[in-house]
């Protein structure tokens, strides 16, 4: 009986999922946000985030005989890092949404797989940084956050290139 119940539950999940998707597809919500790419490079916007856990500040405090102060600073910076990560994730989602729109229009068959790979890499890195932050593994955090921002920047760059190619397309067709 348990087998049957599990199977029916699985099937109902599939059925409800399909139904919800079809419903959403046929009854779209009005006014989705207009996606856009960030004006400033991500490395510039998120530079303070990458510097949050550089060893200098903590070494200085430890050398000055203030280990408690160093601990407090770490706690505070962890909170700040979490806020930054939330912001970065929102920005990334917006750019990824833009990429998905571009993928449907693009003639480059490599763009969608590349954007998907970037997204997977980004979310993997984000998860790793969040785990390190939660577990208190500070040592490699600056490198990991820099890599995270680079991953975001690469997606922005790919989107810019694709958007530029698409923008030139109508002009080429007109000419």
């Amino acid at each position: 009986m348990i087998n049957l119940m599990l199977l029916v539950a699985l099937l109902l999940t599939v059925g409800v999922g399909t139904g919800v998707l079809l419903w959403k597809r046929l009854h779209p919500q009005a006014g989705p946000e207009t996606p856009a790419l960030p004006d400033r490079p991500a490395s510039e916007t998120y530079a303070p985030m990458c510097r949050l856990f550089t060893a200098d500040d903590f070494d200085l405090l430890t050398a000055a005989g203030e280990p408690d102060l160093a601990k407090r600073l770490r706690r505070q910076r962890r909170r700040v890092l979490r806020l930054y990560l939330g912001e970065l994730r929102r920005d990334f989602e917006q750019v990824h949404g833009f990429c998905r729109l571009l993928a449907g229009r693009s003639l480059d068959p490599g763009f969608a797989p590349a954007a998907t790979r970037q997204a997977l890499a980004f979310y993997g890195l984000l998860l790793m940084v969040q785990a390190r932050c939660a577990l208190g593994w500070w040592f490699e955090l600056p490198a990991a956050t820099t890599e995270l921002v680079d991953s975001f920047e690469r997606l922005c760059q790919a989107a810019r290139t694709c958007a530029a190619a698409l923008a030139q397309e109508p002009a080429a067709q007109t000419a």
């Binding site: 399909t18 998905r100 490599g110």
Partner: protein
């Protein structure tokens, strides 16, 4: 009561035959046979199979030294199991054919999905075979076929969902006919898997209910397709057009924004 259910099932089977002929004729009249070759082959094959089955039932002829009608069903069932996923592949191709940018990724997702779904269904079938069933079937081979049938339809349900998730994720405008066919066949796959699960669990007792429910849903699915398919449906994207339009407007706005920002940067550089 049982007799009336059987009578109703027989009626629905004949109605299904009629609807199949109607759908095939409609595909031919609308000039969609070339556009949906696998679907047309499936309908033609299924129609001939049903007619042959009826003929063998009435005449009582044998086939390969066995009871003719049953042998026909058993030997031709795997062909249908192959044709169903091919129909889904065909719909998927029609969904993505105008979008070269996502075609490759779509193919990767499809192959990955097909592999995962096959592995999942094999796993579930193996567990079910190992655990056995509380119910009894007069013929173990029939019980085995029911189990395989359930696995195939379960896999097809999952595959339909994966395709839908992919197309929704990229917000691609899809021709209305493809939506109609996906909705009709998807609901039939889902229903067959659900009823197949009950049939496997409750055994032969559930057979009349399963036959009746399957015949009803199958006839309704085909009737829905025959009723809604149209030539214009190949061009239109149905109500999803609203979304496609919104997506398109979003994209235009975003591209305009990108260009404006690019131009502003260019002007700044030139001024410097």
């Amino acid at each position: 009561m049982e007799t009336s259910a059987e009578f109703l099932t027989q009626g629905l089977v004949y109605a299904g035959l009629l609807v199949k002929i109607m759908l095939l004729a409609r595909l031919g009249r609308l000039g969609l046979v070339r556009r949906y070759p696998v679907l047309s082959v499936y309908l033609a094959f299924s129609l001939l199979r049903n007619i042959a089955y009826r003929y063998l039932v009435f005449t009582g002829l044998g086939l390969f030294g066995r009871h003719g009608a049953n042998a026909l069903l058993v030997y031709t069932q795997p062909v249908l199991w192959v044709l169903y996923p091919l129909i889904l592949l065909e719909l998927y191709s029609r969904m993505l054919e105008e979008y070269p940018g996502v075609y490759r990724l779509g193919r990767m997702v499809l192959l990955g999905g097909l592999g995962s779904v096959t592995a999942l269904c094999l796993g579930i079938t193996a567990v079910a075979e190992q655990a056995g069933t509380a119910a009894t079937d007069r013929y173990p081979f029939i019980a085995y076929m029911v189990l395989q049938d359930r696995a195939v339809f379960l896999g097809l349900s999952f595959l339909s969902l994966i395709l839908l998730v992919f197309v929704s994720h990229y917000r691609l405008p899809v021709p209305r006919n493809v939506w109609i066919l996906l909705a009709c066949f998807g609901s039939y796959f889902f229903w067959s898997a659900l009823v197949g699960a009950f049939r496997w669990h409750f055994g032969e007792v559930f057979r009349p209910a399963r036959n009746l429910a399957n015949a009803l849903v199958y006839s309704l699915a085909l009737a829905g397709a025959a009723w809604r398919l149209s030539t214009a449906g190949e061009e239109e994207t149905s109500r999803a057009r609203g979304l496609a339009g919104a997506a398109s407007r979003e994209l235009e706005a975003a591209l305009a924004l990108q260009l404006r920002s690019f131009n502003e940067t260019l002007v700044r550089v030139l001024k410097q």
